[in-house]
Homo-oligomer: 260 residues x 2
């Protein structure tokens, strides 16, 4: 099972080539220094010997099969996880059982930040396809961040951006209408895919309509109807989970109705 054959492989590869370590090549031992996600992940801004020290604590990889949980609400918190391959969703639950998807995570993104505050995870992280994560023991990360200011800075940036991202979702949930929400969601997805070297105009959704709806505060039927309408309007081509963006400008105009 090659670790290059999974993930968003059905998408067109773009400009950033995967960098593969020459000597240490091993699906369970890939150094941050030779990881093609190093410009998106925790090591941003770190140099050679710093990377080696980070590598020393991020030695463990973990496979997560499709549908399996990386962690669940209430689990003791011990590590953060960097998505190396695959795709995750995180779900929060109210006491009465209502569940909601709080985010989707792709390669290079960090999972588990919710656990730092209480030493227990406050959401479920579930793989939407066969995935692989790098395990980052939190106490070792804290210790190392006290010595490497670049690591500290990048870690704080990641947490801050997570907060800003959540504010954006709150804005979406609080004030946008169904089609605007879906348009914003698709633009966000394509932008993140583009940052990973994919074209962004052609994508395969890893989640169901119901999961999209849960994330966007809509019912699955509403999501489906919005997709159909986008297709009727020539903005998208929709074949189940295979999406082609035909008119990205129209999507952007939907999100910012005031600007056109």
């Amino acid at each position: 099972m090659s670790n290059q054959s999974h993930g968003v492989q059905q998408l067109v590869r773009g400009s950033i080539p995967p960098v593969v370590s020459s000597s240490r090549q091993d699906p369970f031992k890939v150094a941050c220094a030779s990881c093609n996600l190093r410009e998106l992940c925790l090591p941003v801004g770190m140099s050679g010997d710093q990377l080696e020290r980070l590598d020393a604590i991020v030695s463990n990889r973990r496979q997560v099969p499709r549908g399996a949980a990386l962690f669940r609400t209430g689990d003791a918190f011990s590590s953060l996880y960097a998505v190396r391959l695959g795709f995750f969703k995180t779900c929060v639950a109210a006491e009465d059982g209502r569940e909601q998807v709080s985010g989707f995570q792709m390669a290079g993104e960090l999972l588990g930040l919710d656990g730092i505050g209480t030493d227990h995870h406050t959401c479920d992280a579930v793989a939407l396809e066969a995935s692989q994560v790098c395990v980052i023991p939190y106490h070792q990360l804290e210790h190392l961040a006290r010595e490497l200011s670049d690591l500290q800075r990048q870690f704080h940036r990641i947490m801050s951006r997570e907060i800003v991202r959540d504010h954006g979702v709150m804005l979406l949930l609080g004030s946008m209408r169904a089609e605007e929400r879906l348009a914003a969601f698709l633009l966000n997805l394509t932008q993140r895919l583009r940052a990973r070297g994919f074209s962004g105009s052609s994508l395969v959704l890893r989640m169901t309509r119901e999961e999209i709806g849960s994330y966007l505060g809509l019912k699955l039927e509403t999501v489906s109807r919005a997709f159909s309408r986008f297709q009727d309007d020539g903005i998208l081509s929709v074949k189940q989970r295979q999406i082609e963006v035909l008119n990205a400008d129209a999507l952007k105009a939907l999100v910012n109705p005031g600007e056109c």
Copy 2:
């Protein structure tokens, strides 16, 4: 102008007495060690000499008049702010001008975390009453956190809890109905007031119906109607912004409809 006469002073004082420094007393120079918020704020878990070092970088206070902005979207980020006295709201804006309240902050809570990720603030922080904040220069905080692991730990916890709080708001916005949202909001407020030594059954809202509605993804008329209905049902007494909680259990039952 005494710094004890502002804030949530119309609320009944509870168990935690304000601790006032004997020697350093001065509204613009109150040491963390002698601040009555030290158990809620950044110094949690820090001991004597650590507190002194934190004090050294948190030397500056800033007054913010009612209606004034502590910072605005786009401002360069340089410091975090701990609310010492008063009450704030934070607002995020979409490109098309739509604004939404993303949070309310009271004494002991931190403002400005949004700015770390991009070196610029991504929301407005506006005082809802005459307020005072402690200015925490961020680069000095980073530096000190590398030496004081207790400070580092508490700072990370605060950021993580902010993320978890945002997830809770997303759940509220995505899946609760109007009255549940307002009930959850009121319970959250009373809980935070109780943590600050107030009774929690009697409170004065510092924000308008419109601001509450913006935060909860509702129109002000809907908020007003929900208040009226709670009053009709004997759950609250509502006189403009003066709220008495008559039946806290009924409020809790509204938030968790499955449990009763």
